[in-house]
């Protein structure tokens, strides 16, 4: 990826933060670059990925799905099998180790669906750190199980009721808390968003996904895949999958956005319907009005319910290297049910968006094409939401 200057991806990225945070970001960048070149640090990170998170995750050939759809061959990257149930742990373990190296004794994080919060609380328990998680009031209600899980892990969950009470507001509050306590606190950003160096740090720690896929698909098929599909909210699981393939021009990349109730109703399709703006420290695409007020957004999946997208994705889109497609709530729920019944795998609602796009794309492609779908998380947390959507009354 061309980086014209540090932390810039084309015209996107940057460090649009209050002055109180600038030296903290500079210190973070310096510490991260040192850690990245430190074999001891990398060995420790690899150790926890393997022995604690359970990597490498499987690349599973979805035979039944492939045969039923009658088109391209479908592989699922099983990030749902990681410890804590999603790809979020890859990034969190890296950043928690970095925090430890920097001498911070307290970690804080924002969370939407709760997966990043659970992963952060898990790492904090493991490494003996104080932990505080910021979560929107609406998301706490949608994902009450994850709230309880975080508390069991010893984290404080701080309810954010300002604004829309979702991931956007939780992110703002986490940045504010960091600004107030930069001395002893490390902010574990959960996606490829925020000011530099966060998008770079999160991309690097998540790119283990794409690196494994590359080796696994070469072993199984003796060639690279034709297309990679991943859901995008902020975009970390997609960036992790895409990044090692960016230089491989034959590999198509599709990010799947939350189309919500449809593009003419409430949705969270930041690239498809958004415009260039600045929020949460970065220049990227956002859903906003003419005055730059950020629009309230909506998706059935709390993890995609975010009005922007990471700057690296904005650049991949603008340069034409990747494309971004919306999938609605209804399509995602159908895909959720389909994968559960067909392959016996319950995907997260976020990941179900990627599955839904594969359901559309695969039948249109010849049988010798290979698709890789990133199953970024497991769907246990979403069972209540899906039941509610289907009008089924389960005992909550």
């Amino acid at each position: 990826m061309t980086e014209y200057r540090k932390g810039r991806y084309g015209r996107f990225g940057g460090q649009y933060v209050p002055e109180t945070l600038m030296n903290a970001l500079i210190e973070l960048e310096r510490s991260y670059y040192a850690a990245r070149d430190d074999n001891e640090f990398l060995r420790e990170y690899d150790f926890f990925l393997k022995e604690y998170a359970g990597r490498p995750s499987l690349l599973y050939y979805a035979r039944k799905m492939t045969e039923e759809l009658g088109g391209a061959k479908i592989y699922l990257k099983r990030e749902d099998l990681n410890h804590t149930g999603s790809h979020k742990i890859n990034n969190v373990l890296g950043q928690a180790l970095l925090a430890k190296k920097m001498g911070k004794r307290r970690v804080i994080a924002e969370t939407g669906a709760g997966q990043h919060g659970v992963a952060t609380a898990t790492a904090a328990a493991l490494f003996n750190m104080e932990c505080e998680i910021f979560m929107g009031s609406e998301d706490m209600e949608r994902q009450s199980l994850n709230v309880f899980r975080m508390r069991l892990l010893g984290a404080d969950v701080r309810e954010v009721s300002s604004g829309t009470g979702t991931l956007k507001d939780a992110t703002s509050e986490a940045f504010k808390e960091w600004a107030a306590r930069v001395g002893d606190t490390y902010l574990v950003v959960g996606s490829v968003v925020g000011p530099h160096p966060y998008p770079e740090i999160v991309r690097d720690f998540q790119s283990v996904i794409g690196s494994e896929v590359r080796a696994q698909v070469l072993e199984k098929e003796r060639r690279l895949p034709d297309c990679l599909i991943a859901c995008v909210g902020g975009g970390s699981n997609a960036m992790g999958l895409f990044y090692p393939f960016i230089g491989c021009s034959g590999v198509e990349m599709v990010g799947v956005e939350a189309g919500g109730e449809g593009l003419n109703a409430r949705h969270a399709a930041s690239i498809t319907k958004g415009s260039v703006g600045v929020m949460h420290g970065m220049k990227s695409f956002f859903l906003q009005d003419e005055d730059g007020q950020i629009d309230p957004v909506y998706s059935i999946s709390a993890g995609l319910d975010y009005p922007g997208i990471g700057p690296q994705h904005a650049f991949l889109f603008e340069s034409g290297r990747a494309r971004y497609e919306p999938v609605t709530d209804a399509e995602a729920v159908e895909a959720f049910k389909y994968l559960t019944k067909t392959e016996g795998i319950i995907p997260a609602l976020e990941s179900a968006h990627a599955v839904a796009y594969a359901l559309k794309l695969a039948p249109a492609l010849p049988r010798d094409k290979i698709l890789v779908v990133n199953l970024s998380g497991r769907g246990d947390k979403d069972v209540y939401s899906v039941a509610r959507y289907m009008g089924v009354n389960v005992n909550e």
Binding site: E19, M22, D169, E290
Partner: protein, 266 residues
């Protein structure tokens, strides 16, 4: 020289400190904001900041966030606030400064924004989420239109102070402490060494803000700098006076108290 520079010169020649006050534009209405500006001027404010309401104000504490929400609920638009400034300019020459987030300038269009600021009579802007590293995006155009780009320095800025001060227009906004805006009981910053460091690099006037709410604090902190900025405490008076409708009197009383406290600092 801008109205801001002239005001500091005038105050300095009399040995006085500047009182800089803040209200959120459109909270609760634009008419109320106009009346509040004129009242604050009458009661001793030297420079007034108008906060442009924003959906995601990342430097603001709960008080100013609530003011933003109230204003946005009234569908206040930036072009309406530009109109408000023109209106105020019919009767007042008090220096006016916008406090706004960078996305608002970006979406309004930087060229159109600074052109409207100039024709309306805005003297300077403060953009809390535009640090030194990113300020070149509007530095040149602000200069072309003669609008002061007011830069911020924080106790954590240390070696950055020199280069930030080099870009500062109008006055240097010195952030009293870490975290967001809002009332603080006490400060842990070592102001003496903070300002020694700032004064080494900067000849522009320095004003101290974030968390200053009482006349006693203004008097105590005024001795370190050229001016004191009070925001959340004023916005809180607006909020408290909403039900009874007497917020103008409440704000006026606070401003007068702050001014007389600052007059004791010589």
């Amino acid at each position: 020289m801008s109205r801001i520079g002239a005001k500091f010169d005038e105050l300095r020649s009399r040995g006085e400190k500047a009182l800089i006050t803040f209200v959120t534009a459109g909270d609760p209405t634009l008419e109320a904001t106009r009346d509040l500006v004129l009242e604050m001027e009458k009661r001793g404010a030297d420079i007034i900041e108008l906060g442009i309401p924003y959906s995601d104000p990342v430097a603001e504490g709960p008080v100013i966030m609530r003011a933003n929400s109230r204003a946005l609920k009234n569908k206040i638009r930036i072009k309406d606030i530009m109109g408000l400034v023109s209106d105020i300019r019919k009767t007042s020459e008090i220096p006016l400064v916008y406090l706004l987030y960078f996305n608002c300038i970006l979406r309004y269009g930087p060229e159109r924004f600074f052109s409207d600021c100039k024709s309306g009579g805005v003297d300077g802007i403060i953009v809390p989420d535009l640090p030194y590293e990113e300020c070149d995006e509007i530095y040149g155009i602000a200069k072309d239109y003669g609008i002061d780009l007011i830069m911020l320095v924080a106790p954590t800025s240390r070696e950055r102070i020199e280069k930030i001060a080099g870009k500062a227009g109008g006055f240097l906004y010195c952030v009293s402490s870490l975290g967001v805006t809002g009332v603080r009981e006490k400060f842990s910053t070592d102001f003496k060494s903070f300002f020694e460091c700032i004064n080494r690099y900067s000849a522009v006037p320095k004003a101290l803000g974030f968390g200053i709410s009482t006349p006693a604090q203004a008097e105590e902190l005024g001795k370190y700098c050229d001016g004191i900025i009070v925001g959340s405490a004023i916005v809180k008076r607006v909020e408290e006076g909403l039900a009874a409708g007497d917020f103008q009197a409440r704000v006026g009383g606070l401003v007068a108290g702050l001014k007389s406290a600052l007059e004791k600092v010589r």
